[in-house]
Amino acid sequence: MSIFQYFAKRIGLYLVVLFIGLTITFFLPRLMPTNPIDGYISQIESRAGQSLRPEAIAALRSNLEELYGLKGDIFTQYVNYLNRVILHFDFGPSFTNYPEPVSDMIFRALPWTLGLLLVSTIVSWIIGNLIGLVAGYFHNKRSATVLEVVGILLYPIPYYILALTVILVLAYFLPVFPLSPTFPAEGLTFGNAGTILFNSALPAITLVLAGFGWNILSMKSLAYTTKEEPYVTYARLKGTSNWKRMTRYVFRNAMLPQVTALALSLGTIFNGALLTEMLFSYPGVGLLMRTAASSGDYNLLYGSITMSIIAVATAGLIIDLIYPLFDPRIRNR
């Protein structure tokens, strides 16, 4: 398999995943017994009393069907849906913020979520793996065992308990960070970057800690087994320094499965972000989804779900595409 075949395979897989994801988000709501338009119309009817004539209701229904892509048989709807989503990134208008297009709302929220997730995931991966590396490499040293205990303690804690504990400790007992963060309405600018970072610290810390346990524990066992590989023993017998053996020999090899695992775990990271955004009223896609779900804003809900599928799949693809940088066995055959 050449490097091109590797890329072609990954990109092909990516497209298949996207296609399946989009198809599922299209069909799932249509399998539900309730129709969003019925719900919307009955809402309007109850508000307007009996004053609406049947013709007006029929016209409204036809308009809504047009707007929400529910016209025609299911196959026509499906083709239209794919066409709109893939070519125009159009999910129609929002119910709650009518007539603002859902895609505008998502694009406003997306940088917040991506910024928080990317930074906390990368920080958690790097620090967690470094701690795990030291714990595994020096497994027979007592001080290194302490590092492993950090992982053992953090790993089983459910995310919401961890988050609440961090809030209690860092916002209540030691009020370092604000209990409820405030974010400037105009979004990220050069001037308010500091405020945003400060207010994002608490959610970021919870996400970093949540990722720690797994990163520490799996890197610890990877480093521990890699250390026994003949090439590490040979390097030791060659007189290679401890530092070089730990970094260039053990880490460079043990990190490979961790990179793959990162791509696989992105989905769960996204779940964590939903909870985080609710807990911290953080203005990202997660908060948008919650608003959409609680107010019955179908377009917004499916728009954000589709967007999350695309984001997670794309991040996974990017990791897959940079993986050959770390593994020459895939890069040069």
Binding site: Y234, L237, K238, G239, K244, R252, P328, R333
Partner: protein, 323 residues
């Protein structure tokens, strides 16, 4: 001259402590190729670890010492306690498997420069490395490759290049060719012999293949159940072996024109966990007497430079009966 003084090396395990090398004393003159032979589990690799100074849990040097016959930079004589500072400068080793002994994700070039206290101009050393690997019959570019891009024979040549680059006084090789096919094996052994002749260093070579010992070594050590049982010039040993075990090992060698399958030596070596008394080979020895079963034979110089541990090493019965 390398001198082993009553070396006892033991492994600490959950079952207790076991002596994998149990009182070996030898003198190895400078500039020769010494072979170590014996069945699997008799302590060959452990003895190599001790000589290399790779002594760490679970292995311990229970007693005895190793002197290498040279001094370090500060003039102190080098023993197994401070030989580690000389690794790959004055003592080096060729590992068994070149595939698993090279880091798969970094270039050979970098692994070449990973030695301890690497000082000096990197580019300059790299030039020297390049011309050196060329001398060993490898393309210069091979050091820019990753291990998986080279063939097994080329990789083993790289291992030999690494082990000989600094022209160390001592080179240890523990079954350096077992992972290779026969043709490549031969060229690797010839390369080692060639380099040894040019540099005049001492090579200690472990192999379970008596044919290799016959072709390559100047001197031989035969081990059995953690003990040295015979040591001397290879030619002597092959022509006039003193120990019945050596004789059986040699007889297990196929000879040209003889297609009969050679059976191994019947029976198995005793477990080192048992309480061992007398000669450890007695149970399998065709000549064993009550004396052998009760009294441990000493390692004695029967002929000049030719040692053996057998009560009947020089008896006529031994010389005629086993062969």
């Amino acid at each position: 001259m390398i001198r082993l003084n009553n070396v006892v090396a033991s492994y600490k395990t959950e079952r207790g402590v076991v002596n994998a090398v149990d009182g070996v004393s030898l003198e190895i003159p400078d500039g020769c190729i010494v072979g170590i032979a014996g069945e699997s589990g008799c302590g060959k690799s452990t003895l190599m670890k001790v000589i290399y100074g790779d002594i760490g849990f679970p292995l311990a040097l229970a007693s005895g010492s190793v002197d290498y016959g040279f001094s370090d930079d500060s003039g102190k004589p080098v023993t197994s306690r401070n030989i580690q500072k000389e690794w790959f400068k004055r003592i080096s080793y060729v590992p068994q498997s070149s595939m698993s002994s090279l880091n798969p994700v970094i270039r050979i070039r970098k692994q070449f420069l990973d030695f301890q206290d690497q000082t000096g101009n990197k580019a300059q050393i790299l030039e020297q490395v390049k011309s050196y690997v060329k001398k060993l019959g490898l393309p210069e570019e091979s050091i820019d490759s990753y291990p998986h891009q080279l063939s097994g024979g080329m990789r083993q040549r790289i291992m030999i290049a690494m082990a000989t680059f600094f022209q160390p006084e001592i080179i240890l090789a523990d079954e350096p060719t077992t992972a290779l096919d026969v043709v490549v094996q031969k060229s690797i052994l010839l390369l080692l012999m060639d380099l040894q002749e040019q540099m005049g260093n001492t090579i200690i070579l472990v192999s379970h293949d008596m044919g290799v010992h016959y072709q390559v070594t100047d001197k031989m050590l035969i081990m059995y159940a953690a003990k040295a049982v015979e040591y001397g010039d290879s030619e002597e040993i092959f022509q006039r072996p003193l120990h019945p075990y050596t004789r059986l090992l040699i007889n297990s060698l196929p000879t040209i024109g003889d297609d009969r399958a050679r059976e191994g030596i019947p029976g198995r070596p005793p477990s080192l966990w048992n309480k061992l008394q007398g000669c450890r080979f007695a149970d399998r020895c065709p000549l064993a007497t009550d004396r052998c079963r009760n009294e441990e034979p000493e390692f004695v110089e029967y002929r000049p430079g030719h040692f053996a541990a057998c009560h009947y090493a020089d008896s006529e019965a031994n010389l005629s009966e086993v062969s």
